[in-house]
C-alpha cells in the first residue's frame, strides 16, 4: 500500500470522529485504552493497515485520511469479534468500521467485486443479480404449496422472510425447501413475500452502503405493511439482525425470530417427528449475527441435541469466540479481493477446526455458510468426509424427508 503525503488539515478526522458519536454508545470511543485487544482478535487484523485500535489512534492523531487512502478496511467482515472483546464496549463494528467503510465508498475506494454486488442490489433487489420475478422459484415442488402472500391475500400466522441466498443460491435453496417441509410437518400457517421481497440490506449496510440499505428496507417495509401476520421468522441471521436492530429505527417494526428460536419453542411437538437416527458427531458453527451480535447460542444446539443419534462436539472457537465464515460485512462478495490480500480463507480455518474436533457434520444456521464451508472443505486436508448441513436440513432428514 502506498501512503500518500499526510494532509495538514485535521478537519476530516474531526468530522469523522464527531460522526462516531451519533452511533448508539459511540461516545465510548473517547475511552479507548489502546489496549490492542481488538487488533489481535480480528481474524484479518494481522494484514490490515488500520485494524480498529490503530484506526482510533490515527483519528486521535488527526491522520484519518490515511485510513481512507488504504483499502484494507475492506478486509473487515463485520464479525463483531473486536466489539465482543473491547473492555470499554466501544461499538467498533457497528460504529467505527462501518463508518470507515462508508467514507471509503463515498471516496470511490471500493473493490470492483463489491461494486457489482451493490449495483445488483440497487437494480435487482439482491446482490446475486437474479431476476426479482424468480425469487420464489425455490419453493416449486414443496408440498403442501408454500403460500405466497400476494397470491393468497389472506392473513397468516408466520411471515417467513426467506432472504437472498435462501431464495436464489443453488446450495441454499434446498435448505429453504427443508425448512418449508419442517414448518409444514409442524402444521405452521406461514407465507412468504415472493417477488415482493428484496434483500434485507444488512450486509450492504455493513459494507458502507447505508443509502442502499434504507432503500431496500423501505421496499420490504412497504411489502410487509400490505399483509397481516403475527410475527416474522427468517433463516438468515443477517436479516434477523436487520429486522430486530435496524428496521425499527426506520419505522418498520415487527416481532422477529430466527427459525432456530421458533423451532426450539416447539421442541415438544418436533421431537416425536424426529424418527431417523443420524448417528453422527456434529459440531455447530455459531453464525456471527446469531451468536455474538444477538446472543442466540442455545436454541440451535437444543435442536441438534433433539435429533436421535447426534452427539454434539464443540470446536475450539465456539459461542462468543466463534470464527467468522468470512461472508459478513460484504465479505460474501469480496472473495477475490480478500484472497489477493490474505492468500487464505476464514472458512478454511473454520473447517480445519471442525476436522480437529472429529466432527462428521459441520452444522450451520446461516445461508452464507453452507456454500462457503463446502467450498473450503474441498481445500482442507482430511475434510473429505466432512458434511456441511444447515440445521433445517438435518431436522428434515431426521423426519425422513
Amino acid at each position: 500500500m502506498a501512503i500518500a503525503p499526510v494532509s495538514q488539515s485535521p478537519t476530516f478526522s474531526r468530522t469523522f470522529y464527531a460522526s462516531l458519536h451519533e452511533v448508539s454508545g459511540g461516545e465510548k470511543v473517547r475511552t479507548c485504552l489502546q489496549c490492542g485487544t481488538c487488533n489481535g482478535v480480528c481474524p484479518f487484523g494481522y494484514l490490515m493497515d488500520f485494524p480498529p485500535g490503530k484506526m482510533i489512534s490515527a483519528l486521535r492523531a488527526e491522520r484519518f485520511e490515511r485510513v481512507t487512502e488504504a483499502d484494507s478496511v475492506w478486509m473487515c467482515v463485520s464479525c463483531y469479534a473486536c466489539t465482543e472483546v473491547c473492555p470499554v464496549r466501544i461499538p467498533l463494528t457497528a460504529g467505527l468500521m462501518t463508518r470507515a467503510k462508508e467514507e471509503l465508498l463515498l471516496a470511490g475506494n471500493i473493490p470492483s467485486e463489491l461494486q457489482t454486488a451493490l449495483e445488483n442490489s440497487q437494480r435487482y433487489g439482491n446482490p446475486l443479480g437474479e431476476s426479482q420475478r424468480k425469487r420464489a422459484d425455490w419453493a416449486k415442488g414443496v408440498k403442501p404449496r408454500v403460500t405466497i402472500m400476494n397470491e393468497a391475500q389472506r392473513p397468516v400466522d408466520v411471515l417467513w422472510y426467506v432472504g437472498d441466498y435462501g431464495s436464489y443460491h443453488p446450495r441454499v435453496q434446498p435448505v429453504s425447501r427443508a425448512l418449508a417441509n419442517v414448518l409444514n410437518a409442524l402444521g405452521v400457517d406461514f407465507g412468504i413475500l415472493g417477488f415482493e421481497e428484496v434483500s434485507d440490506g444488512d450486509s450492504q449496510r455493513l459494507a458502507g452502503e447505508r443509502g442502499l440499505f434504507e432503500m431496500l428496507a423501505a421496499k420490504n417495509g412497504r411489502a410487509l405493511a400490505a399483509y397481516e401476520f403475527k410475527e416474522i421468522i427468517t433463516g438468515d441471521p443477517h436479516a434477523y439482525n436487520a429486522f430486530r436492530n435496524e428496521y425499527p429505527a426506520l419505522g418498520i417494526s415487527y416481532p422477529v425470530r430466527h427459525y432456530t428460536q421458533f423451532l426450539a419453542e416447539r421442541l415438544d411437538q418436533l421431537k416425536p417427528l424426529l424418527k431417523h437416527e443420524l448417528g453422527a458427531l456434529v459440531t455447530y458453527h455459531d453464525p456471527c449475527y446469531l451468536g455474538r451480535a444477538n446472543d442466540i447460542f442455545d436454541e440451535p444446539r437444543q435442536l441438534l441435541s433433539a435429533i436421535p443419534g447426534v452427539e454434539l462436539v464443540e470446536m475450539s472457537h465456539n459461542r462468543t469466540t466463534s470464527l467468522c465464515c468470512g461472508g459478513g460485512g460484504g465479505g460474501m462478495w469480496m472473495d477475490g479481493f480478500q484472497w489477493e490480500k490474505a492468500h487464505t480463507r476464514l472458512s478454511e480455518w473454520r473447517v480445519r477446526e471442525a476436522v480437529a474436533a472429529g466432527a462428521d457434520i459441520l452444522a450451520v444456521a446461516c445461508p452464507y455458510e453452507a456454500p462457503r464451508f463446502e467450498d473450503a472443505a474441498k481445500m482442507v486436508q482430511k475434510a473429505g468426509r466432512l458434511q456441511v448441513k444447515d440445521i433445517a436440513e438435518l431436522l428434515a432428514e431426521a423426519m425422513g424427508d
Binding site: L105, L106, R123, G129, R210, E214, M215
Partner: protein, 254 residues
C-alpha cells in the same frame, strides 16, 4: 471540453425475453430496460475528461422506463445537463431514426465531442455512433478504449482485432464510439443518487420520430431452438470420466 453523451436503454437480459403475438418483436409488457453497458462506459469517459480538464457533460436518453434513473445516476457522477428525448420511444425506435432525432439535439448543444457506446445488444441496423456522425457531418472513430484531451483535439486509442491498438489524433468536433472508458464505471452510492434527484433537473426535448427509414424490416423473431447435438453422459463419476477419456481419444485431443 463540452461533451454530449447519447445513451440507449436496452432489454435487460437478466429477465427472460418473450416475443409478442406479432412474432416480429419483443413483448414490451414484460421487458425491463437497462442502460447499455457501452453507454455506461461512455458516461464514465466523459466524466473523467471533465474531471481532468473541465468543461461540461450532457447526457441524453430517450424517454423509456428507467431513463430518469439513468439520468439522475449520471448527475450523481457529475453530469451537468440531463436531457430526456420525448416522443413515442416505448414502441421501439431504430438507430437511423434515433440518430436523426439526436442530430438536432447535438447541433443545438454544439459540443466539442460526442461520446456514445460503440454498440448495443439491440442494434439491428448498425451502431448509433457512425449514423449520428454521418448526419452531423463529423468524423467518427469507433472501438475507442482511451481518450486524452489535448488543445483543440483528442488523442484516442482504437482497438483492432488481434490485440492491435492504434493511437489516432482526432480533430474536433467528433463522434467517438466508446468500447471501454479509461477506468471501469464508478459506483454511485444510493445517497448521492437521492441527492441528485433533489437538485438536478431533467430537460425534456420533443423530437420527431415519424421517419423510420433505413432500418431493416423484421419479418420473424424466434428464440433459439434446442438442437440434439449435445450428448449427456450419465452414470457414476468413474463411468462418466472413462467415457469422456474415450471421447477425447477418439477426437484426437489426448
Amino acid at each position: 471540453m463540452n461533451i454530449v453523451v447519447p445513451v440507449k436503454m436496452v432489454p435487460d437480459l437478466v429477465e427472460e425475453l418473450t416475443i409478442d403475438a406479432s412474432g416480429t418483436r419483443l413483448d414490451t409488457a414484460w421487458l425491463r430496460r437497462i442502460l447499455s453497458e457501452f453507454d455506461d462506459h461512455a458516461i464514465e469517459q466523459a466524466i473523467l475528461l471533465k474531471e481532468r480538464g473541465g468543461g461540461t457533460v450532457a447526457v441524453v436518453a430517450p424517454d423509456v422506463e428507467g431513463a430518469d434513473d439513468v439520468l439522475y445516476a449520471a448527475a450523481a457522477k457529475g453530469a451537468d445537463r440531463l436531457i430526456k428525448l420525448t416522443g413515442d420511444f416505448e414502441a421501439g425506435v431504430n438507430n437511423h431514426a434515433l440518430a436523426r432525432a439526436l442530430t438536432a439535439v447535438v447541433t443545438s448543444a454544439s459540443p466539442d465531442l460526442v461520446l456514445t457506446g460503440v454498440q448495443a445488444h439491440d442494434d439491428l441496423d448498425g451502431a448509433l455512433g457512425p449514423l449520428l456522425a454521418e448526419y452531423l457531418g463529423w468524423p467518427y472513430v469507433g472501438y475507442v478504449a482511451r481518450v486524452n484531451a489535448e488543445d483543440g483535439h483528442v488523442v484516442v486509442h482504437k482497438e483492432y482485432p488481434g490485440g492491435l491498438i492504434a493511437e489516432l489524433d482526432v480533430q474536433l468536433p467528433a463522434v467517438l464510439g466508446i468500447q471501454a472508458a479509461d477506468q471501469p464505471p464508478r459506483y454511485v452510492p444510493v445517497g448521492k443518487i437521492r441527492q441528485a434527484m433533489k437538485t438536478a433537473t431533467i430537460e425534456e426535448q420533443t423530437v420527431p420520430l415519424e421517419d423510420v427509414g433505413g432500418a431493416p424490416i423484421v419479418s420473424c423473431m424466434r428464440t433459439p431452438e434446442a438442437t440434439a447435438r449435445a450428448t449427456m453422459l450419465e452414470g457414476t463419476p468413474e463411468d462418466v470420466a472413462a467415457r469422456l477419456m474415450n471421447i477425447f481419444r477418439d477426437l484426437g485431443v489426448l
